[in-house]
Structure formats: structure tokens, C-alpha cells
């Protein structure tokens, strides 16, 4: 459990978008995933999650920094033999059947046909596609594609499994089933790095998570630690000067009712700052309460704070 499966050091990725203009998708990102754990990289669309996974599987090159997979530089193409990857919105040769796809993928890993066939059977059963194994992929539904994609990513029995938004585009029932499959894989001792914008649902199945926003990890840790950090405060006050309210609102989630304003803050320091601002502008504090933030709320607070920094 203590071994490091994946180490990302100071990873930066910039894209040229037009003459001289560059956009930074990843910004000096540091991350570590321990072997045998399930790590959730959570963040909104465009946060840099897919870019990171693309770098990890060699689809894209970093501008700066390095990634080590089981202590080996990712740039070495042979490292990919130890990785299983499911891309967002998977797309395969649609004239192959599900079983053929797995056997075809097995060849790239040098797996003997008999062994490959045996593994394909097991995996099709794991992802619940035994019935559809002889059906052509072009006849698969979105959810079946996701399932066959997971099976394909597992054909080489990878030590590290990278799943890019495995639940994207699925209805809640299928999302739950896919999460069930991923949890079962984690139980088999696989190291899993999955990305998602479904904070609560995905976060709840991970051993640890990191929140990524604008290419930077804003928070990381075990889920329980993050939730502990989420012991926030709720400050309710009354104030006449609207200008002050705007600056507070810009940073934190707030609501207004019956002339009273309630602001939710993630920690004591922020709470003290608000109290000080309100009092200095002639306002009055009505009450201060403790508040347990959910992961979703922590995430929203982070995003709001990052947006207005």
C-alpha cells in the first residue's frame, strides 16, 4: 500500500491557441497516487483532468515537469504495458464484436491467444456483457461502450488503471452500475486513477481525492480528511452598505432573507475576516454557527474562491 504507483512532479502543459497566445491547461501540478488505492481527480469541465490523463498515456507531451509510473519515466512507451486506459467517450473499430475487440487488444500486449480468450471471457462477465459478446460494437449502446471500454482497459491485467470520466453521458442507474464495477476492481488491488465531475458520487468510492481547477490541485487528501476540513462556519449578519456585501458575496456562497445575510465560509479564518469587515462597516453580527460542508459544497467553495482570487 505504501508504494507509489504514480508520481507527478511540477507538471505544466501549455497549448498555443493563436499567434503568441498560450493557454495553460496544467499549472505546476504535483500529485502522488499510492499503489492499490483508488484516487479521484475531481473538477469541472476544462479543469485539466483529461489533459493530465492524455499526458500519462503519452497522447500529449508536457511543457514542463515529469511523470513517473511505478518509478519509470512515462516517456518510455513500454510503460504503457502496465497501464489500462479508458478514454472519455470511447470509440473502437465498430465492425468488431466485443469479444474480438478484447482479443485484438490482447495482441498489442503480446498475450497468447488462449490466455487472451480466457481473460476476455472473465472480463466480459465482470462488466456484464457476456450476452452481447458476439454483437458488433456498432450495435452497442453508450453504456455498453463504456463497459467494453473498461474490459478492454483490463485485458493486460494492468497495475494502474486510468479512467477518464467513466460515468459521463450515462443515466443515474448506469452510473451506479459502472461505479460498482470500478469498486469491484479496486477490491482486487488495482491502482485506479479516475476523473470525474460528479463530486459526491465519485468521491464517495475513492480512497483519496484531489480537486483540480484551472490546471492546479486546490485540495487533496483522503475523503474523510477533506470532509473534516469542511467543518465550515455560517455567519449571519445585518448590514446597510451594499458595497461590502458585494465583496463578500463574490468570494463565498451566501443567501439573503428578511434583511439578514448568511454567508457560508470554509474555515475560521474566513469567518473572522467577515466578522471584522461587517463590524468595521457598521453592520451587526446576528449569529455564528458551525457547519459541516459536504464534498460538493467544499468543491463549490473552492471553485468560487479560485474564480475570485
Amino acid at each position: 500500500m505504501g508504494d507509489v504507483a504514480l508520481r507527478i512532479e511540477n507538471l505544466t502543459k501549455e497549448y498555443k491557441i493563436s499567434k503568441g497566445e498560450r493557454v495553460r491547461a496544467l499549472d505546476s501540478l504535483n500529485l502522488q497516487v499510492n499503489a492499490g488505492t483508488m484516487f479521484g481527480l475531481l473538477g469541472p469541465q476544462g479543469a485539466g483532468k483529461s489533459t493530465l490523463l492524455k499526458i500519462l498515456v503519452g497522447l500529449s507531451k508536457p511543457t514542463k515537469g515529469r511523470t513517473l509510473i511505478f518509478g519509470r519515466e512515462q516517456r518510455d512507451w513500454r510503460t504503457r504495458a502496465r497501464i489500462g486506459f479508458l478514454t472519455q467517450e470511447p470509440c473502437f473499430c465498430d465492425f468488431l464484436t466485443g469479444e474480438e475487440l478484447l482479443l485484438h487488444t490482447g495482441r498489442f500486449f503480446g498475450i497468447p491467444p488462449e490466455e487472451s480468450s480466457k481473460r476476455a471471457e472473465e472480463l466480459l462477465s465482470l462488466v456484464g456483457l457476456e450476452e452481447a459478446k458476439s454483437r458488433k460494437i456498432k450495435d452497442y449502446s453508450r453504456e455498453m461502450l463504456q463497459r467494453i471500454g473498461i474490459a478492454r482497459a483490463l485485458i493486460n491485467d494492468p497495475e494502474l488503471l486510468l479512467l477518464d470520466e467513466p460515468e459521463a453521458g450515462l443515466d443515474p442507474r448506469n452510473q451506479k452500475e459502472i461505479r460498482g464495477i470500478i469498486t469491484a476492481l479496486s477490491g482486487r488491488g488495482k491502482t485506479i486513477l479516475l476523473t470525474s465531475s460528479h463530486l459526491v458520487e465519485t468521491g464517495s468510492i475513492c480512497d483519496s481525492v484531489a480537486i483540480i481547477y484551472q490546471g492546479r490541485v486546490t485540495r487533496r487528501g483522503r475523503l474523510t480528511e477533506l470532509l473534516r476540513k469542511g467543518e465550515g462556519k455560517k455567519v449571519t449578519f445585518r448590514i446597510e452598505k451594499k458595497g461590502v456585501l458585494n465583496t463578500i458575496n463574490a468570494s463565498y456562497r451566501s443567501e439573503e432573507a428578511n434583511g439578514q445575510i448568511t454567508v457560508h465560509v470554509p474555515h475560521q479564518k474566513a469567518c473572522d475576516e467577515i466578522i471584522s469587515t461587517v463590524l468595521s462597516r457598521g453592520g451587526s453580527i446576528i449569529r455564528v454557527e458551525d457547519e459541516q460542508l459536504s464534498l460538493e459544497e467544499i468543491y463549490q467553495e473552492e471553485i468560487l474562491r479560485e474564480t475570485h482570487v
Partner: protein
Amino acid sequence: MAKVTCRETLRKKPLIILFIASLIFIGSAQLFFLLKAGIPLKTMQAVWLKSLIGFSTLLAVYLGACLLFAEEGKNKLYSLLSLPVRRGEIVIGKFIGGAVALLLLLLLMGIVFIAVTGLKQFSSLLIWQAVLLASWEMLLVFSLSLMLSTLATPLLNISLSLFVSLAGNISASLKFLGNQIDNLVVSFLAKIFYYFVPHLHRFDITSNVIAGEEVTFSLIWKDLAYGFYYMALFLTIGIILFSRKEL
């Protein structure tokens, strides 16, 4: 991968439509000649060869343009490139698979020709040599188009490949034009094209077929070696570009 590419190629609808169009054209043209008495055998062969070169070029250009960056977008490529395989191997695999598929289509064009006109059309060595060189030209154009697909959109790729194919087929005239014309710019451009574009006219010996002039084996070997050199060059450039490409 080559096997899957070959299967994938033979399922591409635009390619199949183009191929069927070529069969209809070849079959009907030959049928017309048969019904119209007095058309010499060599003329029929020449028309077939020209159709073969033209259609095979179109098939090769289209296939090269869409094989790496298919209509499904990049996701298919992501799945492939995440496997422990070098990008160069993917280019080579795609080339081999595509080449086998193209040769199969060419074979079918030959079968249709024989079915309409009979086996006697293939009685001379010259026609076999012409078919061999036409196949080689097709593979060369395919490698060019595959290389261009690593840096251009399919539409631009098709336009460029067709332009180079055309220029390559008239490259002998380009040199002549470059020497004769007074306009410096046109003369310069004609010379540039002459020296940088593969001389595809070397692979078209239709005039020899019409005139019944034998082509020596040494000349055939030279042409094959020339074509191989360009194929290797285009594929090498393609591999380098594809290996550096950000996806």
C-alpha cells in the same frame, strides 16, 4: 493491426462507392468497345489502364486522408495510442493494411476487366508490367496521402495529394515548360515542381502498350526502386510528424 486496418478499409462507404463507380466505368467502357466492332485490343487495354491509374489514385488519396484521422474523430486514435505500441508502428501498420486493401480492390478491377473482355487481354507481358507499375504508383500516392494526413485536414490533404499526383504525371512537361517560358516566376515554379514532385509518369507505360514497345526489366526495376524510395521517404516523414503530433 494491418489486418484490422484492411477490414476497416473495405468497410468505408465512400471508398466502396468510388470503387463501384470505377467498376461501372471500366465495365461499361469495355462493353461499349466490344459492341462497337473494329476497336483494336490495344486501345481497349489503354483505356482500361488509364481508368485503373485514375481510379486507383482517387482510392489511394481518399484512403490515405481518412485512415489515421477517421471520421469518428480522435477518440478511436486515443484508444489505439494508449496501447504499448510506437506511433511509427501504427503508421506502418495502417500503410500495410491499407495497401493490401487497395491491391485487393485493384485485383477486382482486373477481374471485372477480364470478365467483360476475356483473358486474351492479359496475354502479353507488357500489360502485366503496366499493371505492376500502376499498382506501385497507387501505393506511392497512398504513402503521400498518409504522410499529409499527419499535418493536414482530410479535405486539404485530398486537394494536395491530387495536385501532387497531377503534377507528378505531367512532370516531364513541367521541365519543358520551365525551360521554354519567359515568365520567371512560372518558370521557377515549374522547375521547383519538377525537382520536388515524384515523377509519377514513370509508372504509366500506356503509350508503350499502345505502340507494342517492350519495356526492359532493368527499367521496370529502376522505376520500382524509384517508387520505393519515395514511399520510404513519405512514410519516414509521416512517422516523424505523427510521433511529434499532439493529440
